[in-house]
C-alpha cells in the first residue's frame, strides 16, 4: 500500500467531517420526526432538494446567500407544516407503513414539481464570496466553506440541545416522545406539538439542502442518494437517538471521505458496508435502545 502523509490524512478526515455535517442535519430531522411522530419521512430527500431550489430561486430574485440561509429552512419548514396538517395527520392511528407510503408518493410529486418549475438540468450554486478560499487549520489549507459547514452543524446541534434540555417546550417534546397519551391528559395539545416537530424536521432538511448546494449544485434528483445515505446514518446511530444521529453522521462522512482517498472505487459502497457491520454486531444501532424495532 502507498504511504500517505499524515497531514493529507488529517485533511481528509476534516473533509469527511464537513460532509458528515450535512448528514448530521439530515439525520437529526429524520430522527426528530421519527422519535416524536413514529413517522419515517420518505420525502426527506425531496425536501432536501426543495431547500436547494428555494435557495436558487431566492438568489435569482436578488437575495444573497445569507438571507437565503435564514429563509430556506423557514420556507421548507412551512411546506412541512402543510404536509403534516393535510396529508400525514389523517393517517395517525393507521398501520405504521401508511405515513411512510404517503411521504414516498409525496417525494415523487415534489421532485416532479421542481422539474416543472426549474427544468431538468442541474443548477450550479456559487460559494458566497465571504466563504470562498481556504483557511489554514494547523495541518494544511482547507476550504473555508467546509469549515463553515461544520460550524453551522455544531450550532444547530447546540441550539437543538438547549431547546430540548433547557426549555419548557423541550420538556413537552421529551415527554411526548415517551408517552403522548399522558401528555394529552395533562392538557397539552399534542397535535400542535407534532405539527411543529414535523415543521422543524423538514426545515432542517431544507437547511441541509441549501448548505450542500455550493458543494454539489442543485439537481432535482439530488435527494435520492441522500435519502439512502441518511437512512444509513439513522440505522448506524440508532433510530430516534439524536446523539446517535450526530455521531453516526460524522462517522459516515469520515468513512466516505477516507475510502475515497484510499480506495476510490469502494467509496460509494463503503458506507453501506459500515451499515452492514453495525447491523450484524449491534442491530439496534450505536445509540439505539435494544428491543422496539429490532427483531
Amino acid at each position: 500500500m502507498v504511504d500517505y502523509p499524515l497531514d493529507l490524512l488529517a485533511l481528509q478526515v476534516f473533509a469527511g467531517l464537513a460532509l458528515g455535517a450535512v448528514y448530521v442535519l439530515l439525520a437529526l430531522g429524520l430522527s426528530l420526526i421519527f422519535g416524536m411522530l413514529g413517522v419515517v419521512n420518505f420525502a426527506h430527500g425531496a425536501l432536501f432538494a426543495l431547500g436547494a431550489y428555494v435557495g436558487v430561486f431566492l438568489l435569482g430574485t436578488g437575495w444573497n446567500f445569507w438571507a437565503a440561509l435564514v429563509a430556506v429552512p423557514l420556507a421548507v419548514g412551512a411546506a412541512g407544516l402543510l404536509v403534516e396538517r393535510f396529508l400525514v395527520r389523517p393517517l395517525y392511528g393507521r398501520p405504521v407503513d401508511d405515513p411512510l407510503l404517503l411521504t414516498f408518493g409525496l417525494a415523487y410529486v415534489v421532485v416532479e414539481a421542481i422539474r416543472i418549475v426549474f427544468g431538468k438540468q442541474p443548477e450550479p450554486v456559487e460559494t458566497p464570496e465571504l466563504l470562498a478560499g481556504a483557511v489554514f487549520i494547523g495541518v494544511g489549507y482547507f476550504p473555508l466553506y467546509r469549515v463553515f459547514l461544520i460550524g453551522v452543524a455544531a450550532l444547530v446541534v447546540l441550539a437543538l440541545w438547549l431547546l430540548l434540555e433547557r426549555t419548557r417546550w423541550g420538556l413537552i417534546l421529551r415527554a411526548g416522545a415517551r408517552d403522548p397519551t399522558i401528555l394529552r391528559v395533562l392538557g397539552v395539545d399534542v397535535g400542535r406539538v407534532w405539527l411543529l416537530v414535523f415543521g422543524l424536521g423538514t426545515g432542517l432538511a431544507g437547511l441541509a439542502g441549501w448548505l450542500a448546494a455550493p458543494l454539489q449544485g442543485a439537481a432535482p434528483e439530488m435527494g435520492v442518494p441522500v435519502l439512502a445515505e441518511a437512512f444509513v446514518v439513522t440505522v448506524v446511530g440508532g433510530m430516534g437517538s439524536l446523539l446517535g444521529a450526530v455521531v453516526a453522521g460524522l462517522l459516515v462522512g469520515v468513512t466516505y471521505s477516507m475510502t475515497s482517498l484510499l480506495a476510490p472505487e469502494m467509496a460509494k459502497v463503503s458506507i453501506f458496508a459500515l451499515m452492514a457491520v453495525v447491523l450484524l454486531l449491534r442491530p439496534q444501532g450505536l445509540f439505539g435502545r435494544p428491543g422496539g424495532l429490532m427483531a
Partner: protein
C-alpha cells in the same frame, strides 16, 4: 340487514359468484387473464411489459401483502435476475431455457445476501435497510462495467431463437413469441406462488404478519421464516427481471435504481396488496395510465405520485381489492 327493506345499493346480479369463483380459482383466473391480455391491450409489447411488471409486483407482494414486510429494495432483486439473464445471453449466448433459468436463481441469491442483514430488523427499519442495501447494489452494478455495461446498460441481450423439443424453432425476435415465452413463465411462477401461499409456510408467514409475538410463542423461527419469504420473493422478482431483459433486449442500469424499488410498492398499492391478482391489475392500470398520460404531458411522475397518495389516503385496498370487495358485497 335481513328483515329490513332491501338495501338500495345498486348490485349487479351474477357478478358476486364470479368474484367468488375468481377467488377460489386464482391461478386459473390469472392464466385466463394472461391469455386474454394481448387481445385487450393496444400492443403486444405493452402486454409483455404488463406481465413482466405484474410478476415483479406479485413477487414483491408475497413479502409485503402476505408477509407484512415493506421492502424498498426490490430493484436489486429484479436487477439481479435481469443482469443474470442478460449476461447469459449477451456474454455466453445461452439458450432460452438456461437464460430464463438463471434469473430466479440470481434473484434468490441477491435476496439471500440482502435478507440475512434485513431480517434482523422489522417494521419501518426494514424499509430503510432494504433501501440502503439496494442502493449499494446499484453502485456495484454501476461500477462493474465489464459485466453490466455500467452507465450505458447491458446491450445485445438478443434472444434470436426459441428452440422447442421435436425440432420446432420459433423466431425469438417476434413479439408474439416473446409474449408467449414471458406469459408461460409468469403463469408457472403464479401457480408456484399460489401453492406456497397455501402451504404451511404460507400460514406461518401470515401468522407472523398478524401477530409476531404469538407466532414466536408457537415456536416459529421468526427470522428463518422471513428470510425464506425474502428469498422466495427474490426468486419471483428475479424471474420477472429475466423476462424483462428478454422483452427489452437490454438491461439499463436504472433497473437497479431506487425508482424501480418504488415502482413495486406503487403497483402493489395501486392494484391492491391484500388480493392475489391485485399486483397484476396494478401493473396493467399503471402502464396503461402511463402511456395515456404520456400523450399530453411528460410529467408522468406528478400524476403517478398524486394517484398513489390518493390510494394511500382513501383507497387502501387498491383498484382490484376495491372492485372485488364491491362485487362481493
Amino acid at each position: 340487514m335481513s328483515g329490513t327493506a332491501a338495501p338500495t345499493r345498486a348490485r349487479l346480479p351474477g357478478l358476486a359468484p364470479l368474484a367468488e369463483w375468481g377467488m377460489r380459482h386464482r391461478v386459473f383466473g390469472t392464466w385466463l387473464a394472461l391469455a386474454a391480455l394481448p387481445l385487450l391491450l393496444p400492443s403486444t409489447a405493452l402486454a409483455t411489459s404488463v406481465v413482466a411488471y405484474g410478476l415483479y409486483a406479485l413477487g414483491f407482494n408475497l413479502l409485503f401483502g402476505w408477509g407484512g414486510l415493506l421492502s424498498f429494495g426490490h430493484a436489486a432483486l429484479l436487477g439481479g435476475g435481469a443482469y443474470a439473464t442478460g449476461i447469459a445471453i449477451a456474454h455466453y449466448g445461452a439458450p432460452w431455457w438456461a437464460a430464463i433459468g438463471v434469473a430466479p436463481v440470481a434473484g434468490a441469491g441477491v435476496a439471500f445476501l440482502m435478507g440475512v442483514l434485513a431480517v434482523r430488523t422489522r417494521g419501518i427499519y426494514f424499509a430503510m435497510v432494504t433501501l440502503a442495501l439496494s442502493q449499494c447494489a446499484y453502485h456495484v452494478a454501476y461500477q462493474a462495467v465489464g459485466w453490466t455495461g455500467g452507465e450505458n446498460g447491458l446491450r445485445g441481450v438478443n434472444l434470436r431463437e426459441v428452440a422447442l423439443p421435436f425440432g420446432m424453432v420459433l423466431d425469438g425476435l417476434d413479439p408474439r413469441v416473446r409474449y408467449g415465452l414471458v406469459a408461460v413463465a409468469a403463469g408457472l411462477a403464479v401457480a408456484a406462488v399460489s401453492r406456497v401461499l397455501d402451504s404451511p409456510f404460507g400460514a406461518a408467514l401470515a401468522a407472523l404478519r398478524e401477530n409476531e409475538a404469538r407466532a414466536r410463542a408457537c415456536g416459529y423461527d421468526v427470522r428463518a421464516v422471513r428470510l425464506l419469504a425474502f428469498v422466495l420473493s427474490g426468486a419471483v422478482c428475479g424471474l420477472a427481471g429475466g423476462l424483462l431483459a428478454i422483452h427489452l433486449s437490454v438491461v439499463p442500469v436504472e433497473t437497479m435504481h431506487y425508482a424501480t424499488s418504488g415502482l413495486a410498492v406503487m403497483l402493489a398499492i395501486l392494484g391492491g396488496m391484500h388480493s392475489f391478482f391485485g399486483p397484476f391489475a396494478g401493473a396493467a392500470a399503471f402502464l396503461l395510465l402511463e402511456s395515456a398520460v404520456a400523450r399530453w404531458t411528460e410529467h408522468w411522475p406528478l400524476v403517478a405520485g398524486t394517484v398513489f397518495m390518493l390510494c394511500v389516503l382513501f383507497f387502501r385496498e387498491g383498484i382490484w381489492g376495491t372492485l372485488v370487495g364491491w362485487l362481493r358485497r
